[in-house]
């Protein structure tokens, strides 16, 4: 008995360790490349990896367009579960049966692949990168060498969505001033409509809400620059004030907001029980899908009196790009595909078929709301600060804001205490001005 017990103990405990060594969890048998019609030479199959399991069918349609123009290249598109993707990709790119081209994360989460030498710098490979917006390319740069390691795939913007039917019912309009914004929240509350659909149980959602509501108050891109220059840190009074604003607006959010999951906040909004939703452009397709009758508008929150900026802004960030594996066996074909991924033709397909903001110059958006969000962002852009600059170490800024915001909502800390959580956490790896 006891020996068997010891054995069971030992073998079950070993499971803990196998966590540590990440074995590849998906093999990708390479199907023989079938030459398309009109291909004279040898056909080549390229493996393209993605974390968008929900978009597989759409991507296959999109790559059909490419394959028709390039009959000798077959695109073998494979999507892996979002939550496991980074692990699978790191293993794939360091091993032998990885992708030729892969969707890679932006900013901090891109760095492990760059530092590991798994991706190739692209400025010389894809000339069209020169036409991209600099702020967008920042998402794909290596921290140390500043080279671009990805063709930007999608950008996201952050703003406030509102239900136009609910607004009309209560005689409300898009707010022009901070007082307008507070007044419309009060009106909705009086009529038992939840003004702001927020779920703070998912920590990652808190910094999104914070930037949607207060990016102009703490100064948006100016504050980002001041942090980069070392002129201030996160205990800056303007930043503390913006956190206080988040606390002040808690009365317009659902009760027990730290117990409300993000998905419930979505449902609250799409089921028309809440009037506004502070969130990313990536919500649009889901909102329209969940409730096709939903009539939506968007606005930027006007800054409160005494704000660092005198005009509202939209926060935004680059969300993923296409990287080229350093170990690809078909560099020529992969470069052909990568260059196509930088063309307005592909960008337009991303906009039309995937409903995403392609940052490729010249792309237009057929959905008027999507176009409006993009125009607002182009006119008054701001960085989604904690994601853009503060994911280059451990802990990441967005996690810290999640924890700080939850403590703030629970009443366990005040605004300056929440700012301290962020500053102290980041100081583990970040010094202002470096």
């Amino acid at each position: 008995m006891s020996r068997r017990k010891t054995l069971a103990t030992a073998s079950a405990a070993l499971v803990a360790l196998t966590l540590g060594a990440c074995a590849p969890s998906a093999d990708s048998p390479e199907p023989g490349a079938a030459a398309g019609e009109g291909c004279d030479g040898d056909a080549v199959a390229l493996d393209v990896w993605s974390w968008r399991t929900e978009d597989v069918k759409t991507y296959e349609r999109i790559f059909d367009v490419f394959e028709q123009a390039n009959p000798c290249i077959t695109v073998n598109f494979q999507a892996h579960l979002n939550t496991e993707y980074d692990q699978i990709l790191r293993t794939g790119l360091t091993g032998s049966d990885g992708p030729d081209i892969a969707q890679v994360r932006s900013y901090g989460l891109l760095q492990p692949l760059v530092e590991g030498g798994n991706l190739q710098p692209l400025e010389d490979v894809v000339p069209a990168l020169a036409d991209f917006d600099d702020a967008t390319l920042d998402g794909s740069r290596g921290r140390e060498d500043g080279a671009v390691y990805g063709v930007p795939l999608a950008s996201q913007t952050i703003q406030v969505y509102y239900n136009t039917a609910i607004f009309e019912e209560h005689g409300l309009e898009e707010p022009e001033t901070w007082d307008d914004f507070i007044a419309l929240n009060d009106t909705l509350l009086e009529h038992d409509v939840t003004p702001l659909a927020v779920g703070a149980r998912d920590g990652w959602f808190v910094p999104t809400v914070h930037d949607a509501l207060t990016a102009a108050q703490y100064g948006g891109a100016d504050f980002q620059q001041a942090l980069r220059d070392g002129a201030t840190d996160f205990t800056d009074p303007a930043y503390v004030d913006s956190i206080q604003t988040l606390k002040d607006l808690q009365q317009y959010m659902p009760d027990d907001v730290t117990g409300v999951p993000y998905t419930d906040a979505q449902v609250l909004f799409t089921s028309e029980q809440a009037a506004m939703f502070a969130g990313g452009s990536y919500e649009l397709a889901f909102f329209q899908d969940a409730n096709p009758d939903l009539d939506l508008g968007v606005f930027q929150v006007p800054p409160p009196p005494g704000s660092a900026l005198d005009h509202p802004v939209s926060a935004g960030y680059a969300d993923g790009s296409w990287g080229l594996s350093a170990g690809t066996e078909h560099p020529e074909e992969a470069e052909t595909l990568l260059n196509w991924l930088a063309t307005p033709e592909f960008g337009q397909l991303v906009a039309d078929e995937l409903k995403q903001f392609s940052p490729i110059p010249g792309v237009e958006f057929s959905d008027p709301l999507q176009q409006e969000m993009w125009d607002l962002y182009q006119a008054d852009p701001a960085p989604y600060l904690l994601l853009v600059d503060y994911r280059y170490g451990d802990p990441v800024g967005t996690d810290l804001m999640g924890e700080a915001g939850q403590k703030l909502f629970l009443g366990d800390t005040d605004a300056s205490g929440a700012a301290d959580v962020i500053q102290d956490g980041l100081s583990a790896w970040w010094t202002p001005g470096e």
Binding site: A16, L19, Q87, A200, R201, G402, L410
Partner: protein, 307 residues
Amino acid sequence: MSRRRRAAALPTPVALLFLLPAAALFAVFVLYPMATALTYSLFSWRGTAQDAFVGLDNFVALFTTEPYATQLPRAFGHNALLFAGAMVVQNSLGLLLAYVLHRRGRLRRLFQVLYTMPYLVSPLVVGYLWSLLLSPLFGPVNAALRAVGLDAVAQPWLGDPDTALWVVGLVTAWQWVGFPLLVYGAALGALDPAIEEAAMLDGATSRQRFWHVTLPLLMPVIGTVSVLTFIFSMEAFPIPYALGGSSGSPAGATDVMSLLFYRTAFHSGASNAIGISSAVAIVLFLVIVGISVLFTQWFRRVERRLT
């Protein structure tokens, strides 16, 4: 009690030959990843590229630098609480149910199947299911409490740091109670009924028979179940992840060791993520093995005293 059976004699080379396939599988899928994790933790990393040999530096960093110096003990404490909760709730309840079912023979099968059902569902699914049930907005749990006038009891169960970890423990118990129930049920079935009959003839009440006859006889099984519960509790991942996300919401109240590992390995932009996270895995492994061995020895001593 101990019956020793003579092993059928097999010439040693042949025996080794039969052991080879299992040993090979064990080496490839267990020993190799183990050794890999150990070596990973002794190097510094630049992204996915192995850098210099740094000895125990990663372990030193884990215990002395932020955020790990704060998060590691916190996560470990939560694992320990989950274990304590599992022992008190899940295993006691499992034993009680197994004992009751053992004595009421007729419906035993049916209830065994019913209690074991959640055990067959993926823990991630169980976690998300309970997350829906406990939602303060749409969740039926709070709605039911309010419907019967227990408004004061209705809570943002997963949104309050004071209740969140308890919920994780209870949901885990809800899913796993079938495990001790089955093991104890089998052990009870294997006990010699003559012993209990003898106690009955000697005039022992049913309570005395349970505490002084049945329970001591179950001690070896209780030991095994406890050690396995300890291992499961230390490795808890899917249910805390489904209920509190990768950062252990709210405000780190449900953070556990595996989540800490997950965050440092796959959710951080730190250059040395692989080195530090491998060190977390090694520490977790050593804690599990060390304490499990101590537990086993202690239970063996208790058994010896009882028999």
